[in-house]
């Protein structure tokens, strides 16, 4: 706020300091001119020049002077009065730009490659990239591993004591938490997968064929756990 501008001074400026143009009307007090500039700048879609401000304000008003006070008033506020070329505008303070962002979170299904890679890490940890590739039969893209690392579902484990000392991957507590597992050892084995019908070539009645992405997949988990409560137990 412009602490140094008191109403008394404003009147002086408006009445005394302003050279009397041959006008029939007296110019409004400076405080009022400041209000006017403020409203015009606020509502205008484009920056407004001093000339245009003067045109729009009552006769005898001095926009340039009013702007000085207005600018001062907004110093340190959440909104600033800024000069844009020859014109003036009001803008939000640059340091508050982060408030103008809205973060939306979108949830997507993990890709098949990522799921397979993750599964191998979970079942075989600690496991090297070469081992993953051997099991998958295809090379593992950097992006897939990076994605899993970024999600904090996997992390680097100890280097293997084999030639080249390759890094290994292991799953993290975040992973266990997400899948509701106490430890990676709680992952069901192949025998259990088979018992649950997950290894059949033909899809069991009422389930979705393997590999078919579907929104219902989540429901299936519910169905499974309901129908076969012993599935995930040892």
């Amino acid at each position: 706020m412009s602490d140094d501008v008191t109403p008394v001074e404003e009147d002086t400026v408006a009445q005394g300091g302003h050279a009397p143009e041959e006008s029939l009307f007296e110019a409004p007090p400076l405080a009022e001119q400041e209000r006017m500039c403020e409203a015009i700048l606020f509502a205008s879609a484009e920056p407004v020049s001093v000339r245009e401000l003067n045109d729009r304000m009552p006769h005898g008003a001095d926009a340039a002077e009013a702007l000085v006070h207005l600018r001062k008033r907004y110093e340190g506020r959440g909104v600033h009065v800024v000069k844009v070329g020859d014109a003036w505008a009001m803008r939000t303070a640059p340091d508050l730009g982060f408030l103008m962002q809205k973060e939306t979170v979108e949830t997507r299904k993990l890709s098949r490659a990522a799921i397979e890679t993750l599964a191998i890490i979970a079942y075989h940890q600690p496991v090297t990239r070469a081992e993953i590739e051997e099991i998958r039969g295809v090379s593992v893209s950097r992006g897939t591993v990076d994605q899993l690392l970024e999600m904090e579902w996997i992390r680097f484990g100890r280097r293997k004591m084999t030639p080249g000392r390759p890094v290994t991957f292991v799953v993290t507590p975040v992973f266990l938490d997400h899948f509701g597992l106490a430890s990676a050892r709680d992952l069901p084995g192949l025998k259990e997968l088979r018992a649950a019908g997950l290894l059949e070539n033909r899809p069991p009645p009422g389930t979705i064929p393997l590999g078919v992405k579907s929104d219902e997949e989540e429901d299936e988990v519910l169905d499974l756990s309901d129908g076969q409560p012993e599935l995930f137990e040892d």
């Binding site: 103008m100 973060e103 979108e106 993990l110 997968l193």
Partner: protein
């Protein structure tokens, strides 16, 4: 919609003017229904709406409809319905009340009509006041260049346990079927170690390194050795807990030794 009697005016007009005025009168947009017409007619009484004479108003309305008929104007049905109702109201108001007749009295009906007129007038006044309010885009203004909220989209990925298992099953059954076993052949369980130690401990009267209890063939393969060592160590602790052996280690990383607890210890 003048304050004076509309038909008096109309009769003074030329035919062309009258036609124009008539068109206006029957236009429902010009007169918004019988209640609006009644309200307009009521203004001729030049009194507060609360003091209005409903009897006079009913008569005015009936005159209006009568003259409209004479001018062969086609009035909308609701104007005629109102006329019939006002004629009924008029008779109720004029005749002494018939005690055998059911339903509300003429006064009650008249009071309600007066209320309706007053309420309609009140809403008209309110509407005018509302429209005279300071209005956005006319008297006050919003920000001229609103800043768009930048949407920062963050994607999180998810998968279910089923996805994971199906993915794994898919891999393991793709080429050759190799049943998944948690590499049990390199795991020596604590139960196995315990069983083995129970059998052997009877011979250990002196301190013996627990590593000597490792099963044959488990010392060389590092995986097997690690598992067997851990299991044997755990089994030793278990036996110590049961009070069957003593266990000691002279310093960190020194060999761990066990000895059977026997008669001399009880002394």
């Amino acid at each position: 919609m003048a304050d004076t009697d509309l038909f008096e005016d109309m009769e003074k007009m030329s035919v062309a003017e009258r036609m124009a005025a008539e068109a206006l009168i029957v236009d429902v947009d010009g007169f918004e229904g019988p209640l609006d017409l009644l309200l307009t007619l009521s203004r001729t009484q030049k009194v507060d709406l609360r003091k209005i004479s409903i009897l006079d108003l009913a008569q005015q309305y009936l005159n209006f409809v009568e003259r409209a008929k004479r001018l062969r104007l086609e009035l909308a049905a609701d104007y005629l319905v109102m006329a019939a109702w006002l004629a009924f109201l008029k008779s109720r108001l004029l005749l002494p009340p018939d005690p055998t007749e059911e339903g509300p009295s003429g006064e009650e009906l008249a009071a309600h009509l007066a209320f309706q007129l007053e309420r309609l007038q009140a809403m008209r006044d309110a509407a005018a006041k509302l429209m005279a309010q300071n209005r956005l885009g006319r008297d006050f203004f919003a920000r001229g260049v609103p800043e768009k909220m930048e949407r920062v989209r963050r994607v999180t990925y998810t998968a279910t346990l089923l996805d994971l298992m199906q993915g794994y099953a898919r891999l393991r059954t793709r080429d050759e079927f190799r049943p998944f076993i948690m590499d049990r052949d390199s795991v020596f369980t604590m139960e196995e170690a315990l069983e083995r130690m129970r059998g052997l401990i009877g011979f250990a009267g002196t301190w013996t390194d627990i590593l000597s209890y490792l099963p044959d063939g488990w010392e060389n393969d590092p995986k097997k050795r690690r598992s067997a060592t851990a299991a044997t160590f755990a089994a030793s602790l278990e036996l110590a807990k049961e009070g069957k052996v003593f266990i000691r280690q002279s310093e960190t990383f020194a060999p761990i030794e066990v000895r059977k607890r026997d008669g001399r210890d009880e002394r």
